[in-house]
Symmetry: C2
Subunit: 395 residues, 2 copies
């Protein structure tokens, strides 16, 4: 784990110049990392690309399809980069997120939350007109019937998958209820049955790789059995999507899981660092911490504490802030909507007003969702600024 | 505290029609509350207007100026409405937020976080060109000098106030350090000294009105003394801004505080409901809960629990979710980035897939910051859709 870097040395260029470069869209090599206004979301491209390549290679080596989750990045450029590397598409948590991806040319979409209600079903059918290979998840008979009827009225066919409840979140129960739903879908003339989505959120964050393996096998076994039962009954079920950043190298070894849908691996966060790795002990280090927040010291009320300009509105707060942010002799804590506090644990702080501090996000997905753009850097320079075009698309 | 409403009864109109109405900008009376895509941020205009009018009347009755905090709403329409009711402007937490307000015609701005670094100072001077009455906070000598020099180079005068550390967040220490800074500012030819900002964040959330009163008096006394000392030394210090939603009716009775900068009162949230009121006991009910999130049940895996479509990306997570959301026989909990879980505490849940649930936000400011728009409703109808134009402006 790299210690957060402190960037000193003010730029000599004016903000008007920087603004002009940003507006031109042609930023490569023209803006330094420490010229970006803070708080800012930063992506280390070397680490990001290595993360993506590692996951693509792992899926390929294990004969699994890979459809990384777009709820993590909400960024069409990232979705397209990952597809270019070998993924077959992107997951989207919600319909409105998928609409943004589709509008930007991303295909191979899987909408992982059921599309519920007359209006959203109308939108789903419209989306299938734009991106016909989009898969929609269904977990009850009425919703399947509603999707079928709306698709029929529009003379379209919709790909649907059963969302299976394997971790106490959404989905239909495995076994008889899911089998009955699969049989129903197979009979609905405007739906094409894809298979089963089984996302085991609980297993993903189980600490310790062996324990996590046991948890994932326990969670996924009913999904595999449900798939087998459907196939046995003549309902062709070619597809079973599981896998997360925590279980990618567990689920890729479980027979019957055909596809992985991890998300956080591309960025990583302190939350996943804490779950422990197969070969890396307590610190899960299969993927590099590519995503950081750059903040500026805006106040130094005492020698022993400074205030930086990133608070609840700049970093996800659903997990504790910063167990892994080890900067010698300091600790970090949130300090309200707009600020965080850096406190010395030994003597006076070296940080001064105007210094920049770079920290790793506590939880990547909701952190990304706070920002409109991500500054992509390589070697201290900004290489690109990508719009987080699906930011806020929780509908 | 009203129980969250469950809205049933699907609309008969198509999404295409709703979308057309939304795009027209003329929504008044044309869209029902339950036709909005969820999760959605909703503002009950009757409650909101009553909250604003009550605060304006209170400030007026107590001879205090009122400059409510714009970091709460980030919405130019709201800032302008409040000014129309009698406030003299709006606070902004950060420079980029103030820039958005100014671009939309809001004046009387106070930027409550120090503007640090060459680029942001350049932007501050530019902002003062657009909105010359904007006040900038300063908490160290170098920053004051930098602002003065940049203002001079642009041939402008900047209003500045001392940001005083009265609650362990930003600011210079009261007494001698702050007095020296005030004397310095008074001598800088391109700065106009306004006075002191002293925001006592700790006091604001102290539970129990009497305890809160004691905490606010303790926090604000050094600010009042600093102001008196500056005046005594011939540095005219006409202005002292304090006050929050928790202390508005405490600070308005403290001699020497001239202005109040509360924010949350206009919306309210469960977090402030818990601090206790002067006359309303444990439930602080001076202001109505005008801000809600409308969500939809998207899954019903068992009879005893349903999943709604609002998670970490739809509601602030820095405070516990929902101690005050009392719906008979159910409890609420977050369930990841995209979902929350509603669990029955007694028998089967009545909620079905497709039902809508309206809940009060746990913490209003960071919740608003998740959304691009706010649906303003009256009597079950959407009256306006306002852009949260400064959303994400944490810089």
């Amino acid at each position: 784990m790299a210690a957060p870097a402190v960037l000193r040395g003010a730029t000599t260029r004016s903000w008007a110049e920087i603004e002009k470069i940003m507006a031109s869209g042609n930023v490569k090599g023209r803006i330094a990392k420490d010229e970006v206004p803070t708080p800012a979301l930063m992506l280390d491209l070397d680490l990001f690309e290595a993360n993506v390549k590692k996951m693509v290679a792992h899926a390929k080596a294990n004969n699994r399809a890979l459809r990384p989750h777009g709820k993590t990045h909400k960024c069409p450029e990232i979705a397209k980069y990952i597809v270019k590397q070998g993924a077959l598409g992107a997951c989207a948590a919600k319909l409105s997120e998928a609409e943004v991806f589709a509008a930007h040319g991303v295909r191979g979409l899987l909408v992982t939350t059921a599309v519920v209600g007359k209006h959203k079903i109308e939108r789903a059918v419209r989306l299938a007109g734009v991106a016909p290979d989009t898969i929609f998840c269904v977990d009850n008979a009425q919703n399947a019937q509603d999707l079928n009827d709306a698709a029929g009225a529009a003379k379209r066919k919709l790909w649907v998958a059963i969302d299976l409840c394997v971790s106490g979140r959404t989905g239909i129960m495995p076994g008889a209820p899911a089998v009955a739903l699969g049989e129903q879908i197979a009979k609905l003339g405007n739906l094409r049955f894809k298979g089963i989505q089984a996302y085991a959120g609980g297993a993903s964050h189980t600490k310790g790789w062996e324990k996590r393996k046991a948890a994932s096998i326990a969670a996924m076994t009913p999904a595999i059995e449900t798939r087998a039962e459907l196939n046995k009954r003549g309902v062709e079920t070619p597809w079973l999507s599981g896998g997360s950043t925590g279980t990618y190298n567990i689920d890729s070894g479980i027979d019957g899981i055909t596809e992985l849908q991890p998300g956080s691996f591309m960025f990583m966060d302190t939350d996943y660092n804490l779950i422990g790795g197969k070969e890396t002990g307590e610190n899960y280090a299969d993927f590099g911490n590519a995503l950081t927040i750059q903040a500026t010291v805006v106040s130094r009320p005492t020698d022993a504490h400074v205030i930086i300009d990133s608070g609840y509105k700049a970093m996800a707060t659903d997990r504790p802030f910063v167990p892994l942010l080890k900067m010698a002799g300091v600790k970090f804590a949130f300090n309200g909507d707009e600020h965080a506090k850096v406190t010395s644990t030994e003597g006076a702080l070296k940080l001064q007003v105007g210094d920049r501090v770079e920290v790793i996000a506590p939880h990547c997905d909701p952190t990304v969702n706070l920002y409109d753009r991500i500054y992509c850097t390589r070697g201290g320079q900004v290489e690109a600024v990508w719009a987080i075009a699906a930011r806020g698309m929780a509908q």
